[in-house]
């Protein structure tokens, strides 16, 4: 298992849990790093303070890789500007593209996301685009230079789990890049299920942020993600689609 690394744009990570942004607190980040083993922490550039008061950038340990996102962008141009700003702020070359033209559901705009991915990848960013699970879009993102593809599991903050399961599975099966399941993961069992399917990593925030016991929930996610990953790597046993397996082979009549 030691060689089982998550590789994003040439960077290797041991942990397959990524802390999302949205609901931030010092306790949440501490729990995610210490108990969930998170090595990548998302940070909304829009949430960065310019003054001294508890800047979220100060919460993030130096050992963690910062993943700034472009939350607040309504089109590709705005996402590109926010990504460049993040780089200037010293957030590194990673960027998660989030482009939303909808304040109600916060659903990603796939078309604008492809455009922003292409521009930023050419500028040397490690681009992680947040998107709807659409195979054609995922292929376009690959061609645009994305380092991973991040389909949403369910509406953001909904804790409803793998609502888009079948479509995410298609991406896992067809796309060569890591598929990171983002948004909507509400409990460890759902994270485990995503990993069993072959997802490369899981991103979560609300599920932890709203838990009664943060450290315990963080630890639960760590265990669940590791369990799912191990199950996937072990080669899943058979899963019966319907009915019982015939004890006598159906093809027994065939002669050598």
């Amino acid at each position: 298992m030691e060689n089982d690394k998550l590789v994003l744009g040439g960077h290797e990570f041991n942990s397959r849990f990524i802390l999302g942004s949205g609901k931030y607190s010092l306790k949440l980040i501490e729990a995610a790093v210490q108990y969930a083993g998170a090595e990548i922490i998302t940070c909304a550039v829009r949430r960065a303070n310019t003054k001294e008061h508890e800047n979220i950038l100060d919460y993030i340990p130096k050992s963690a890789t910062l993943l700034p996102n472009t939350s607040g962008a309504r089109n590709a141009d705005e996402a590109v500007r926010i990504a460049r700003l993040a780089r200037e702020l010293g957030c590194g070359d990673f960027v998660k593209i989030e482009i939303m033209r909808d304040s109600k559901y916060l659903l990603p705009d796939n078309y604008e996301t492809i455009k922003a991915t292409e521009i930023l990848a050419k500028e040397g960013f490690v681009v992680l685009p947040y998107m709807h699970a659409d195979l054609n879009v995922a292929r376009d993102l690959v061609n645009a230079g994305a380092a991973a593809v991040m389909p949403l599991a369910a509406p953001i903050g909904s804790n409803r789990g793998l609502s888009a399961k079948d479509f995410i599975q298609i991406l896992i099966d067809e796309i060569e890049l890591p598929i990171i399941v983002d948004a909507g993961i509400g409990k460890p069992s759902q994270a485990c299920e995503a990993m069993e399917m072959g997802a490369a990593a899981v991103m979560a925030n609300t599920a932890l942020a709203t838990a009664g016991d943060l450290p315990r929930m963080a630890a639960a996610f760590k265990s669940a993600i590791e369990a799912g990953r191990n199950a996937y790597l072990s080669g899943m046993g058979r899963v019966l689609v319907r009915g019982a397996a015939a004890s006598d082979p159906l093809t027994g009549f065939l002669r050598d």
Partner: protein, 443 residues
């Protein structure tokens, strides 16, 4: 309902007999007042179907028809329909306030986690050309008027920014003559230097004027309709631009057309049927969000407060329980919307409601003009002494306003929660919540 509007009317001893006679005439004789549905010269008319969509519901709603069964069904539904929302606003929902609060809390935590956003309002002028009978700034109210110079504005903003605040809301009274669009724009340019988020709550403008303000750094426009009841609107807004109901109604849409990122809405609860006004406010957001899905919307929920020279003003039948019901219904109906609770409400109410439905609070508030420096030097914002309270009780006025006469212009209304920014920060953190100073980027 008998509204007894007499309680709003206060005569100043400085008015000439002619002016007084005119004031009395427009207060008592509807025929002496202009048509509140007719646009004034220069007011832009936009083509919009939002008003009709909203008012079709409001005009036809009968809150008495909803039963406990409707309320429980609404709480059981995964998403909240307009019909469900009406049930949650109805009197039948009152016994289920705790259940509503539980559901509202769940929705708030799903969308906002445990975060609470902070902002500070800054009044840069209190001149006003309107006669809105319930408002401390109304043109007939004898208060100390003031307008800050650009130097004073910069100084005030620096004081506020130095405290750590990242978001400012710039307010004026509604006087185009005294506080021109350019004056407000210049103030916003200064604000843009000191703050990440600049909002305005000023008189309604045309689309090109909102576009200009956006270029000056503003991204958020708040306009309160006060009441959506056209009859009551006409009886309460007797003079000035604000009297024109439809121009005010379309303000947010013009702001979005002008390029603003978001807008704020509210009725002033207590002016008319609060359930209908709450329904209208929320549907105003609901339908405008459908038309402009990228826009970030927020709702406020002010109740009437006493003003300088008139302590008889109160929120009528909107007690804290009713206010809480409205806020829970807002949250369940529109989980994505920001909800602001102002310093009109008490410390206890604000501490409680941020755990249920509210996501934004003002801190370090002054509704007077130009006295933040004094406020920010203190641990608390002008706490009243016993003597000041006694004086307020005797004069019926606002003791704090008397004090502020030395430093600046009088206040728009009496605030209830006078906590400073630092105290608010500590209190909100102490409640297990996460204060957020910035969640915004001007792009």
């Amino acid at each position: 309902m008998n509204y007894n509007d007499e309680r709003y009317f206060v005569d100043s001893d400085t008015l000439s007999p002619e002016a007084l006679a005119r004031k009395h005439r427009i207060e008592t004789d509807p025929s002496a007042r202009s048509n509140h549905m007719e646009y004034m010269k220069g007011m832009e008319v936009i083509k919009s179907d939002i008003h009709d969509k909203v008012m079709n519901h409001v005009d036809s709603v009968d809150f008495s028809k909803y039963t406990a069964r409707d309320v429980l069904a609404a709480l059981d539904h995964h998403t909240c329909t307009v019909e469900d929302f009406k049930a949650l606003l109805s009197p039948a929902a009152a016994p289920y306030l705790e259940k509503m609060a539980q559901r509202a809390k769940l929705e708030t935590s799903k969308h906002f986690g445990n975060t609470v956003y902070f902002f500070t309002p800054l009044y840069i002028a209190n001149y006003c050309e309107n006669y809105c009978v319930y408002c401390g700034f109304n043109c007939y109210n004898k208060i100390k008027r003031m307008q800050l110079t650009m130097e004073q504005i910069e100084h005030e903003m620096k004081v506020i920014a130095d405290s750590g605040m990242e978001e400012v809301l710039i307010l004026t009274g509604e006087s185009r003559a005294k506080s021109s669009v350019e004056y407000i724009g210049e103030a916003c340019k200064i604000a843009h230097k000191y703050f990440r988020m600049v909002g305005v709550e000023v008189y309604p403008m045309n689309t090109d004027e909102y576009k200009y303000l956006h270029e000056c750094g503003v991204d958020y426009v708040t306009v309160f309709q006060e009441t959506y009841d056209k009859v009551r609107y006409e009886q309460l807004h007797l003079l000035g631009h604000k009297r024109i109901y439809p121009y005010r109604f379309d303000s947010q849409e013009r702001a979005l057309m002008g390029g603003m990122r978001g807008c704020g809405f509210s009725a002033l609860l207590g002016l008319s049927d609060f359930r209908k006004d709450a329904l209208a406010s929320a549907l105003h957001v609901f339908y405008l969000q459908k038309k402009y899905p990228h826009a970030e919307m927020s709702l406020s929920c002010p109740r009437l407060r006493p003003i300088v020279n008139n302590d008889k003003i109160n929120p009528l039948d909107v007690h804290e329980k009713e206010l809480c019901q409205v806020l829970c219904a807002y949250r369940i109906f529109m989980p994505f919307v920001g909800i602001t609770v102002s310093s009109r409400e008490s410390k206890e109410f604000r501490n409680g409601i941020v755990k249920i439905a509210a996501t934004k609070v003002s801190a370090g508030v002054s509704t007077g003009v130009g006295d933040h420096e004094e406020k920010y030097k203190k641990d608390e914002c002008k706490p009243r002494t016993t003597e000041e309270n006694a004086r307020a009780a005797v004069t019926g006025g606002n003791a704090a306003a008397t004090e502020s006469e030395e430093a600046g212009g009088d206040e728009q209304f009496e605030i209830n929660d006078s906590r400073s920014f630092d105290t608010m920060y500590k209190d909100i953190s102490g409640e297990g919540l996460q204060p957020v100073l910035n969640d915004y980027l001007y792009v």
